[in-house]
Amino acid sequence: MTHTTFPGAVRTVAALAALGAGTILPAQAANESRPLQAGTEYMVVVNHPNNLNVLDLKDNSVFKTCALPGAFGPGMVQIAPDRKTAYILNNRFGTIYGVRLDDCQVHFQAELSPAPEVRAKSIFSFALSVDGKEAYAVYNPTTLHKDHYEVGEPRLVVYDTAAGVDARPIRSFPAPRQVTMLQGAADGSLYMVGANIFKVDVHTGKRELALPIRDWQRPSYAPVDVLSVWPVQTPTRDFTLLYTTARFTDDKQDPATAEYLYGYLNVNLESGQTEARDFGPLTEIYFTGARSPKDPNIMFGLLHRLAKYDVRQQKLIGAAELEHTYYAVIPSTSGDRMYLTGTFNDVAIYDADTLAKLGNIELPGGDMSLGTAQVFIR
């Protein structure tokens, strides 16, 4: 048996990138100064070698391509609330860039490393405040001494997004290890996904438990497993991640007879309401899941297929075969379409109701790797 793994995907992407080397093109400067149009729905997505693409979702075309500074990886995008700036965690997980979408100019840059001898990486843990005035990151530092490394305590750092291209933290707090995602909530708090989901006060660094993951004790259930690194900013401000678990059918907790399940953990970033529930049998692996903006009872899962579940019935109600694997499923603002990103250099478009394929948008350059794309209306 061979198995799909999250880290494996990185390797595949590396291999694909190498194979596609002949076709990988740097961004063309020709359209960099093309301003976005108000009212138009766009997707922003990063791909190899280091392109920031703006896709026009009205006619499913590449609207413009900005060349990013630094090194590629992971190309994770967060869109500012004014829809004018894309913030990108990139440069091998070490730098946050703010890129003005109208002219491709970098107007914000924050190096996570606090000192030359400290290697600092954010493992996908970067978000914006709901008003767009602050950016948050959790980084894991390692001090590179002459003859040994010293792993330090992770830090939550807060930046002023108006700080320019040499931004330094305006506040900084200790953070737990193993953080994978952040999202800013309407009440100004920050949700932090790690061993559990925490709600963090960005002024004091104080954490409270929002939803347990490692500490979620359910009698007759195996511990849940969560690995989510795609913080999609949905139109409904619905922050959803998948878990897998097993429900034991006897007191002996025999894995052979257990029922394997998918579930979701959800934070409503508008209201602060949280929810955790099983939504269907675990029969295939998904990297990401998304709830329909039109109907929260409909859940999508994506990796080798785009699958659709009825949450209340805990039932698979449809699945589309794909031309290749995709990592991240992102709903359109209306919820009518689902955009599939990651893996290669094409974004696939599916009808959210019928799961019929509607088309592809081919990106200039190579694969999208693991980076999170975002959909928004300017």
Binding site: M1, T5, F6, G8, L16, R119, I123, Y260, L303, T325
Partner: protein, 559 residues
């Protein structure tokens, strides 16, 4: 016991249950690292690994240590920070020194590196008993399934690299902890992967795993002290060598070893023949590390080969493999031609059928005295004999059924099987991993190579019972089949590679996405390996399991 996939296998790294599978995405990786740098580094290590035995170590290792290593490592009274707190194999030291070159800007010549690796392996190596049970990793037996008593060790250490890599090291307690810091500092996603994210990985590693390793694998041991005080076994002279290579057959011959200038360096020549009579010869050089770690590079019939052997008094054991295709290799054993070193290494053929009359060739050293075979084997005459080879004519009687020792005077070690019929065929290895490659990518294909091993049921006539006995390797008709429904649906047999019907050698497909496959997946596959051994009109079948998976992008000397 915790069972794991083979060293070379695809270890599940995601969720608790895996009813599904895909072809395209396995292996482990670290998105934080510059993949190209690491790939280059590991590629460099592979190249360096092949150079362990090459040229003279003229540069002074002490000069390198004091002149270059002290740029980062503090030296006090001959004790170097970090370096003096570790002991490991020649390959282990090579990986460390090469990492300093590739990752930390150390500039040294190849000669200086060889010199310092030799010095460190000699002065801070492992005693033979400290490598016991884990030599498969040094011998590049990448199909070896590992299993460890400690589930924690398997999950914390052996999920990303072989457990053998850890077991082949000794460190001071603080250095085991620094190794934990290095791992998380260098491979930042370690604590996020499966068997990392379900626990407070860093705390467990620092507070439980590192102290445990300090206890079980301490820097100072009686075994090492005793080994350093002992006289290393002699290697110069003539050695009778016997080997068995899956997919090709057995061979034997004489290896001549003579001292060269430079510490522990030797010229090596080999002259012998395959069991089918075709010649096998060549020459090269060897270096003996730590007093017993024999590493030789030879050109055998034009093919670059490496030997990784452990030397004992009068005996060497290990593996010889193609330098550029280490899956193509042979188990070898060699006995030094010296007074009193009587040993039978091999008997060819290794089996006879009841009623068969045949010439039996016994290979070894100091073969003087009577040839003794199982009761029921009639010795018809001696065709020729020397101290290293005895050829006799025999007839196998029905009462000789089973496996019995073959001795010549004081020389023991050989065995001969006598059988009436083949009752079962086993595919060896029972589980193997081949890897797609080539096709414009920098990584070569890794073949699968199989033998068909015939077994007899023994006196009870029932196969699967304690009195079954191994007859030996038989020619077979080879094929592959889908392992399961998924493999059938994905046409793995069509895409994953080609099994040679006669040799049992499986050559995998090219690397990269294949537009002709479902979902453009690569040429990975999940296959049954089928062997058919003819017995009169009857066919006896054996079945193995072959995973054809993605290339090994990181391929350091110790997996």
């Amino acid at each position: 016991m915790v069972s794991r996939a083979p060293l070379d296998g695809a270890v599940p790294v995601a969720s608790p249950a895996f009813p599904t599978r895909t072809h395209s995405h396995e292996a482990k990786g670290d998105p934080v690292l510059n993949r190209k740098t690491i790939a280059r580094a590991m590629g460099a290590l592979t190249v360096l690994g092949t150079m362990l035995a090459a040229t003279p170590a003229g540069a002074s290792a002490e000069a390198v240590l004091h002149g270059k290593c002290t740029a980062c490592h503090v030296e006090q009274d001959g004790v170097f920070s970090r370096i003096s707190n570790q002991r490991k194999t020649p390959e282990g030291w090579l990986m460390s020194v090469a990492r300093m070159q590739v990752m930390h800007g150390l500039k040294i010549t190849d000669e200086e590196r060889r010199s310092v690796v030799k010095y460190l392996a000699d002065t801070q190596g492992l005693a033979p008993s400290e490598t016991a049970g884990f030599r498969y990793a040094l011998e590049r037996r990448l199909n070896t399934p590992e299993s460890f008593e400690s589930e924690q060790f398997a999950q914390m250490c052996a999920r990303c690299h072989s457990g053998a890599r850890v077991r082949l090291q000794r460190r001071a307690p603080e250095d085991w902890q620094r190794l934990v810091h290095f791992h998380l500092g260098q491979f930042a996603t370690t604590e996020y992967q499966m068997w990392g994210r379900d626990r407070d990985w860093f705390t467990v590693a620092l507070d439980e795993v590192a102290p445990g390793l300090a206890r079980s694998q301490p820097l100072d041991t009686e075994a090492w002290k005793a080994w350093r005080a002992s006289t290393p076994p002699a290697v110069d002279g003539q050695w009778t060598v016997s080997g068995q290579m899956p997919g090709r057959g057995g061979f034997s011959g004489v290896m001549t070893v003579s001292t060269l200038a430079g510490k522990d360096r030797h010229a090596v020549s080999f002259e012998g023949a395959w069991d089918d009579g075709s010649a096998l010869k060549g020459q090269g050089q060897a270096v003996v590390y730590t007093g017993y770690e024999w590493r030789a590079d030879l050109q055998l019939d034009g093919t670059p080969m490496r030997q990784v052997l452990a030397v004992e008094p009068g005996l060497m054991r290990g593996r010889m493999f193609q330098r550029d295709h280490d899956e193509v290799g042979a188990d070898i054993v060699a006995s030094r031609q010296q007074a009193g070193n009587s040993r039978v290494l091999s008997v060819y053929p290794a089996y006879l059928k009841v009623g068969q009359e045949a010439e039996l060739r016994i290979v070894g050293t100091e073969l003087a005295g009577d040839v003794r075979l199982a009761e029921g084997i009639e010795l018809l005459g001696v065709a020729r004999r020397s101290a290293t080879e005895v050829v006799v004519r025999v007839r196998a009687g029905a009462s000789a059924r089973g496996v019995a020792p073959v001795t010549v005077g004081q020389a023991s070690g050989g065995a001969l099987a006598v059988f009436e019929r083949i009752d079962a065929v086993r595919v060896v290895p029972e589980f193997a991993v081949a890897r797609i490659g080539g096709n414009g990518t920098p990584t070569a294909k890794v073949e699968g190579r199989f033998d068909a091993e015939a077994w007899a049921a023994g006196a009870d006539g029932q196969i699967g019972t304690a009195d079954d006995y191994r007859i030996g390797v038989f020619p077979a008709r080879w094929s592959v089949a889908p392992f399961d429904e998924q493999a059938e649906r994905d046409k793995d047999v069509q895409f994953a590679g080609v099994m040679d019907a006669d040799s049992g050698v499986f050559v995998p497909g090219g690397a990269g996405p294949n537009p002709a496959r479902r979902m453009m997946t690569n040429n990975a596959g999940n296959l049954k390996v089928l062997a058919e051994v003819g017995q009169g009109a009857e066919v006896v079948r054996g079945e193995g399991h072959l995973i054809v998976t993605v290339p090994r992008w990181n391929n350091p000397p110790i997996p």
